[in-house]
Amino acid sequence: MSLLDVSGLSCRFGSQTALSDISFKVDKGEIVGVIGSSGAGKSTLLRCLCALERPTEGHILLDGADLTQLSERDLVAARRKVGLVFQHFNLLNSRSVAANIALPLEIAGWPKPRIAERVEELLALVGLESHGHKRPSQLSGGQKQRVGIARAIANSPSLLLCDEATSALDPHTTASILELLADINRTLGLTIILITHEMEVVRRFAHRVLVLDHGALIENGSMATLMRDSRGDPRLERLLADTRPGLPETIKRQLSAVPVPGGLTLMRIVLGPEAAKTPFLSLLTTRFDQQITLVQGGTLSCGGDLLTDMILAFSAPVTEPLAAFLEQQAHVTEVLGHVPSDR
């Protein structure tokens, strides 16, 4: 049985529809990314998942309990099974770092000695051993988020929700926070749902991705599948634009749809994990007598898989056998256009 089973979830505020008929499942130990531009319904979905918002319709089964059917009193208990990491940390400045991490345990009524023990353990887990006595205001953004994560997992929740957890951080810190989350996922087997507008974060980190658009779920699959093929859906194209290789402006301006005599042919090629470690380019050069330039792109890690997404410039027109070979080897082959050569 899935850890989380959302079915037919709809949420309306007056005449405004925030979510319409959303269904998906999350298994134990999975890392799932929820992505969408602002106003897509991400926050509402998150608020429903941690039982802060009651949906208009549908069911949310977490560990077998339906969050939409519980009374306020039972919800208080159900919320303790969900940990939430916030974009702006939301740490209490009236408490020390250690006391912030202890808060959910105090709320759950743990005895004091056990709280102290657990807090030590958590401080070590997030790499803040010597910072327990400090105030949150004395920490850097990344350290604050580590405290936020320690606090969220203190009471051993079965689900960890991250709400734009890295959006307020610089790229370097983002990477270290994502590493910490991946670590927690591996060592504790904790299920993580990561809500973000940054495709890069999802690409590096999530096993599976849910795409929300105007309150509807328009994609639910592995990141590698989504990156390989957006089926020409402009909503997906827009989200994926940042993670894909793009042509430099000067080349884009010269692009023509018809072949240029003696010019170059530009193609976008996407290869799966098996091709990432083969000498693909030299294969093309030797077998098809082509001179090839890598214009943009390369091999990326993508939800644990390897994906090669690149734009190549071919010196000679693409012949029938070459096209057939590419068709067989690559997931996507797309002729972007032709440009004159400088030779």
Binding site: C50, F86, N90, S94
Partner: protein
């Protein structure tokens, strides 16, 4: 002569301190819960019962609208009922407190209002009850503001307690009016003013220190 003045001033200072301290204490004891009640009933992420908190606000505004000197007179029957008399330092504490409660309640409300909604959300998500939100978030996070609000209230009460001299409350204000104004004794007048300045300075200094201590 100077020993008499010194004794009079010492006595009056003590009475003023007594009045200010007692009514400040009452202001916090009643004003803070009222402020919490107003905030907690208004917020949709807490009790969401605006019709409960709003009338409290009306009563608070009504009391604050009455000039203190008139409140003093209006409250004489109440003062008699509570203190047994309407004269003296002890009796003056009643109208001072009743004026201070709504004053402090509004100031405390401002500090409580400044709390980030995200902090409340964080505790709610942890499975905290609404009462825990008040206990772990609202009060401790607003504490610096609540303390500086108390400082402002206490200093306002120093001024108000002088007016209470009008009903024979004693204290520094009373002394300044009786000896300084009615008997043209400027020495006492200036001495009282100096003590008042000192007193306000001490209260403000203590308040600032307390705020710094909790803010860290």
């Amino acid at each position: 002569m100077y020993r008499l003045i010194a004794r009079l001033i010492a006595e009056s200072t003590l009475q003023t301190v007594e009045m200010v301290a007692a009514s400040s204490l009452v202001a916090v004891l009643f004003g803070l819960p009222l402020a919490v009640l107003m905030i907690a009933t208004r917020r949709t992420d807490l009790y969401d019962l605006p019709w409960l908190g709003r009338p409290i606000g009306w009563v608070i505004d009504a009391v604050r609208a009455i000039p203190f000197i008139i409140l003093l007179v209006l409250l004489i029957p109440v003062t008699r009922f509570i203190a047994g008399t309407s004269l003296g330092t002890l009796a003056a504490i009643v109208p001072l407190s009743i004026a201070a409660i709504p004053y402090y309640a509004r100031i405390a409300e401002i500090s409580l209002q400044e709390i980030e909604p995200g902090l409340i959300e964080a505790v709610r998500v942890m499975g905290g009850t609404r009462w825990m939100v008040i206990r772990y978030v609202l009060i401790p996070e607003a504490l610096p503001g609540l303390l500086s609000g108390l400082t402002v209230t206490a200093i306002t009460l120093v001024g108000a307690s002088a007016m209470a001299g009008a009903i024979g409350a004693g204290g520094l204000g009373d002394l300044a009016i009786r000896y300084g104004y009615q008997r043209f004794n400027t020495t006492i007048m200036f001495a009282v003013v100096a003590v008042l300045i000192l007193l306000v300075g001490v209260i403000q200094g203590a308040g600032t220190l307390a705020v710094r201590a909790v803010r860290r």
